[in-house]
């Protein structure tokens, strides 16, 4: 069990950046996520794919970070996509209605 959050950023190709999250997103770790995620959204034309496969816990503080990242993509003409969300975490996006405005790809499991 990991109470902390690891954020790994890797370039997939010239226009796509992969962000792999491992651990828990709460009020303690959300600032770290925001710090790492927001600068990536500033580059025009970039697609940011966030892999939440290894996220074991998330609450509204995580939703808040993704909302601010989404706003930044709108302002900077970049794109945000969330991938491999566990059912429990996907449910939070559904309850809050955020699944209708944030691109979520939950069909791809695993990946490379």
């Amino acid at each position: 069990m990991n109470m902390n959050l690891e954020v790994e950023v890797a370039e997939k190709n010239k226009t796509t950046v992969l962000v792999l999250l491992t651990g828990e997103v709460d009020a303690y770790t959300a600032p770290k996520l925001k710090e790492n995620l927001l600068p990536l959204t500033k580059k025009e034309g970039t697609l940011i794919e966030v892999n939440l496969e290894n996220v074991s816990y998330m609450d509204s503080t995580g939703l808040g970070v993704f909302i601010s990242a989404l706003k930044s993509t709108k302002a900077n003409n970049s794109q945000l996509k969330l991938m491999n969300l566990e059912d429990r975490i996907l449910r939070l996006f559904e309850i809050t209605g955020l699944d209708s405005i944030i691109t979520i790809d939950s069909t791809v499991r695993g990946g490379n």
Binding site: D26, A27, S68, I95, G97
Partner: protein
């Protein structure tokens, strides 16, 4: 005669202790026999209340504390989260909570406004008292011996 067990935790009003309280609720709910789904709901709801309490208490003074009380009953878990920070405007808080609606633009989205909404959605009963600081009391019922929705008569010894 004692009808329930009571557990109290007092933690510094710092974000790093939210995960510790989350572990505690997970352990208590597990021992009580809550399902995996219910335990996950409890973890999110209690963390949301803790996040609010930590924020309020910290605004007030740096060395603030948050008190968490767990009432363990046969058929339910009651969790109380109390800060001693400044009171907030409850009417305003209630007006601000709710899911995202299609009519709102992305720019208008509240980055921090989903906490109380999630607590309300994930718990069976939520009460907020702000006479002195802010106290959130949340209840989740155990559905161990659940019967069909058609049966409105259940004999219990309550």
């Amino acid at each position: 005669m004692k009808h329930f067990d009571f557990i109290e935790l007092k933690v510094p009003a710092k974000a790093e202790y939210i995960g510790v309280v989350r572990l505690s609720v997970s352990g208590i709910a597990n021992r009580m026999g809550f399902t995996y789904e219910d335990i996950e709901d409890l973890k999110v709801a209690i963390s949301e209340a803790m996040t609010n309490a930590v924020t309020h208490a910290y605004d007030e003074r740096e060395d603030g504390e948050v008190t968490v009380g767990f009432g363990v009953y046969k058929n339910r878990l009651e969790v109380m989260v109390a800060d001693r920070g400044e009171s907030f405007d409850l009417t305003k808080v209630k007006a601000d909570i709710g899911p995202y609606r299609q009519t709102e633009s992305v720019e208008e989205l509240r980055e921090g406004g989903f906490g109380l909404f999630l607590i309300d959605a994930l718990m069976d009963k939520v009460e907020i008292n702000n006479d002195y600081g802010v106290i959130v009391l949340m209840t989740k019922f155990l559905h161990k011996n659940e019967v069909g929705f058609d049966d409105d008569q259940i004999s219990t010894t309550q």
